[in-house]
Symmetry: D2
Subunit: 389 residues, 4 copies
């Protein structure tokens, strides 16, 4: 199997998410990192390239140089897609420039700086006919896919209630803005957009709620705030939710939940049963029934759906985690690129790859959550792609 | 030690909560059941009395007869307090009649049918100088008291976020109203008041949020509904919360969370740490810190606060549960009655007994949650006792 | 329902297990404490009686006085059974004296000081035709009974492996013998018998293994020791086990497992499935299967066996604990006494009450575990009642 | 950084552990698979090579051909080490042949077919001066390293008790031998050696006990058996243990624990505290103390030891698992090879890489456990390297 050639923008020395992308790309041997513009600092960019074993002439000083230079290489050598692992404000320009030059794009979330950019991006993706993926990583966990599959198959009956909670504590103190580089840009409206907490983790929670329940959020009522004084953006928030299939829900997202690590939990209740998944113990999915014992489903089991089995690499009882979930996104992105090469990209809804529709939904959610929080009115509709034209 | 003499209204054959009250009263040997009006059906009332070993002449056909007959008995024999374990609509008339005849009152929650009755009850209690207790049972758990004590001592720093979730599944199906006697009256506005779910369990959740955090809810934004069609009252709901100490919060309460048992969970986050308590594993309290290992505190440990130690009967590792928590309320109520006999009832805030102030807060919460849900406006203030005059 | 009248030997001020017995007896209102010889110190005995509301003339200075005085009372007033909550060396003389005077006996474990006494006691019980119960409390938990019922019904197939672990840390330090009264006598061969750890908790573990698996231990190979230097008796030990139904097993019991509370866990594996029960979360029973999700069974559920349902007092999700399990033993003992009064004591195997057969098995286990540990030979048979004649 | 070049023996299509080795090798980008003899079937070997992107001329039909052909390649192209992922009987001949040709060796456990081979292998490794690693994967988990570090630092005080349990259910049924290729050879004495269960998982458990506790097992008393009739080798067993630092212990290993996945648990108790680690939730380490709250340490935390931090790739709350633990072994093996190239291999005790000493200990354990089980004598010494000369 021919490896897909990846270039990376961002992810230089000391960056958390860039390293995760590289491990996820490497795990299955389907993707090869061939070039990068790893940092805005030329020195750092070059050092990172060297450390990563990238030939000197493919460690670029900036993304435009990289895109142009790679576009000029022969077909069988040049980068095939770009992985974007930079702060939010650069996602859209990088993605646009890449698509314009015929490169597929795999982007960190949120997709863009605001919803307007997201609509423009969606149009660019559509017009390009290229692959676009977004790292809504939590959809890559096998037991999340099992949860979705069970609900889709109707096992829980009609879905009535969706609770999603994403609690972290890393922004509990003011000091973070000073010492932590990621905190700096995430709390800066110029670089992060209209929201810190909703843009970083609330958008994951909303995505997970829709992905698992199979319903879309139509309206919300939110309360966001900058808990730590002096911040320009929210570090905490919650929202009441209405879904298009009739479910109600609650979303909580916090970066000031002191002592919490990365505590993302989803619970969904239907007419016939309920389920629960906890990211910190991701290999377990709970199903609960009114009249029989609770069931604990485990990753790797043969009784799981095909989608969950495919997303698992080890036998039951050999835990997998975040990197493997991330690698599933990479594997599916590589599959998309191979399909494109064969002239047949599948539509997003037929693929497990989180794509442009999710990207757009995410930006609509963030924008609505921010606006609703400022309003005295209770419910606010989330715009759909159709509304936005 | 002289046992305090109790009479009971309600709690005849087959009633769940009456039996719990009797076990809780018996556990420590400080209270003795001497009489009762156990059922509105005279036959059943008599049978219940016999089964419970009550002398024939003290198994009464109704509460007025009981109150009058007991009032006529000699001081050293007559019932000293009445335990009210009936549907909501009768709490107020029974409590009022008992107080009027000089009997102390220990009542099931919610305190009354509506907030107006609650204000009248509060006045009656104040004027009587008698003991009034309400079975906000979850405050009786040792680790809930530990949680409150740690926050009060400032260990978590200023409290910023309070999340409380009370999920049950027993009303998930329409059939419940037909076969389950408790479901029948809880879904009947005449007997239950303006809310089923908030009146039954939401009020516990709100009480726990205030008790543990040490802050009071000042305003809320809610979304309640009758999920199962045809119901006159809510069976599910959620609310965004504002607290007087500056915290924000979320309360979720559901009786249609299919597969859930009695899943009450509270999490509180302060500037310096966070805590979590789960009712289904009540002997554990989690403390979480940003820079040191999570701590699991366990009931019965010597490092716990005096209040938590007093509320525990067994050594660490010998689990206690719901009946013991309930018995703590009874033990504290008995202490109040003994104090009264000695002319010195402590003020509610100096006691561990949930009293009339909590009763009133609960009814204000229920009323506001119901009204806010019907409104297009986001935030609704919760009336305080002062507002209500 | 007429209450059964109980007298108590031991359990004065400050004694842990005496207070547990009294709460367990009180919980269901079927037993009434009417007299006691609570302490060998006359002052303390009298103070304890007063605190417990026992009339002055029924707080006795010693058990012989109590037995004689109570035997002299009218039938409808005198104590009907004696609860023995003293150190091990007095169990046999008190039980013998009580049986000789026609009183039923409910005794703490282990039944006697050694196996020889146990055989004599068994004979005395048999000849008396009276009720004898022993507080193998862990058999009183509903989910332990469910475990036994499932295995008995063949759901796990033939049982192949039994693992039981009882780890405590309270004797980890030498200091315990000095300050802790219970530690003093448990480490004293004169008062505790040939073993501390096996006599106190190993015997519970062995009992649980046999009770749940439905198989009896036929032979063992053990390694006990006094870990803390200077002790005359073992504070830790383990044994390999053979069972009469072909299962193999491991028993571990430790009082020097520093940091452990009362961590008793049993796991049983059959041809078709496995189960696990953990005393510190007693309301849950795990069933595990090779080809379907793990099942978590919960106390109070309607899908449980009749025996488990009867042993539960609260609805699912309202946790019960150690006192309720203990109270189940009391309730079953009271049932035995009532049956006796009606001339029809059921045989031990038809009752849920742990009786003289378990008492005898326990003493045989302790004696064999101690002897085997001293031997260079691997396997040692456990004597049965038949062997012992 | 130059990648280390790996060749693989075994691990063709459908083999579980070969795929794990490849992912582990790929994860950090420090190792590159350049050739392989993936199967004894030439067709399968070739197909596997193609699928894995190995050039046609480096997909070899057998290991001798591979070793010879690679040895003939130029220094900067040829394979630097061989990963051995075949059944047990071939570990020794392959490793010996590789060492003889100057290739480093990374081998699956157990190291060899029997203890005698292991001594010969140890001598060969010593004489070669080459790197030898053995995939005692569980030592690669960060929280296992934290456990070892805490004990080494004396935090628990002197270690007194070690309990290790490794329960699986995959061999519970006779059918496995027929349909499962791995079951076939593991139950065949010719290919697996003297033990199935102890050789496959008991050896992991013994290794973990020694690695974490810092003490070595000196003697054991065991009971192994073929539970499922007709098997030539054990599928279940347990052993009492004595350690050189004075600790006692219990090891249980079972492949017939129906319903268990890969349930490896270690608990260690010292004078001052205890710890617990569970492989199925590997990112958590429990520390328990007599007089303060239990502590839950979490992978990725800054309070962990340097060794645990180095072994973690993601921030706290982003779970890692089996593949990452495995990758740690690969990373340390790659470091050893780089050191060798620089003329300075560290001694095994200064490295985190499980090496020949562990390999030898493992074979001594297996041999003693098998022999002890056949004996009527209780204790059997485990031979040390010194004994064996």
């Amino acid at each position: 199997m021919q490896r897909i050639r990846m270039g990376m923008v961002g992810g230089g020395e000391g960056a958390f998410i860039g390293a995760i992308h590289r491990m996820a790309a490497a795990l299955d041997g389907e993707v090869e990192l061939v070039c990068g513009a790893f940092s805005q600092s030329p020195d750092k960019a070059q050092r990172s390239a060297t450390t990563l074993g990238i030939p000197t002439d493919r460690g670029y000083p900036d993304y435009i140089t990289m895109l142009d230079a790679e576009a000029a290489r022969p077909d069988d050598q040049r980068m095939q897609f770009v992985a974007i692992v930079t702060p939010n404000d650069t996602h859209f320009p990088i993605a646009s420039a890449a698509l314009a030059r015929g490169f597929h794009v795999l982007s960190d979330k949120p997709a863009t700086l605001d919803f307007q950019q997201a609509r423009a991006l969606a149009q660019a993706v559509r017009e390009s006919g290229l692959c676009y993926g977004i790292t809504h990583t939590y959809t890559g966990y096998p037991m999340v896919r099992e949860a979705r599959a069970r609900i889709k198959a109707g096992e829980l009956g009609g879905i009535r209630k969706v609770l999603v909670d994403y609690s972290q504590g890393w922004l509990a103190n003011h000091g973070e803005e000073i010492t932590n580089k990621q905190a700096q840009w995430r709390l800066d409206p110029e670089r992060a957009g209209a929201s810190c907490c909703m843009g970083d983790i609330g958008v994951h929670a909303a995505n997970l709620a829709e992905y698992v329940s199979g319903q879309q959020i139509t309206a919300l009522c939110s309360d966001l705030r900058a808990t730590v004084s002096g911040r320009a953006l929210d570090d905490d928030g919650a929202a009441l939710l209405k879904f298009d299939g009739g479910a109600r829900g609650v979303l909580n997202a916090s970066q000031i939940a002191t002592g919490e690590e990365n505590n993302l939990v989803i619970r969904v209740y239907g007419e016939r049963g309920g389920l629960e998944w906890r990211q910190q113990e991701p290999n377990t999915l709970w199903l609960r029934w009114p009249d029989q014992p609770h069931q604990q489903l485990r990753a790797g089991a043969e009784y799981l759906s095909a989608g969950a089995q495919t997303a698992t690499r080890t036998p039951m009882g050999h835990p997998e985690g975040y990197i493997e979930a991330f690698a599933n996104i990479y594997r599916e992105f590589a599959a998309c690129v191979r399909s494109h090469n064969n002239q047949r990209i599948p539509p997003e809804e037929a693929s497990d790859l989180p794509g442009i529709a999710m990207a757009l939904r995410g930006m609509a959610f963030i924008e609505t959550a921010v606006n609703a929080s400022l309003s005295e009115q209770k419910w606010h509709d989330i715009p759909t792609l159709e509304d936005s034209h």
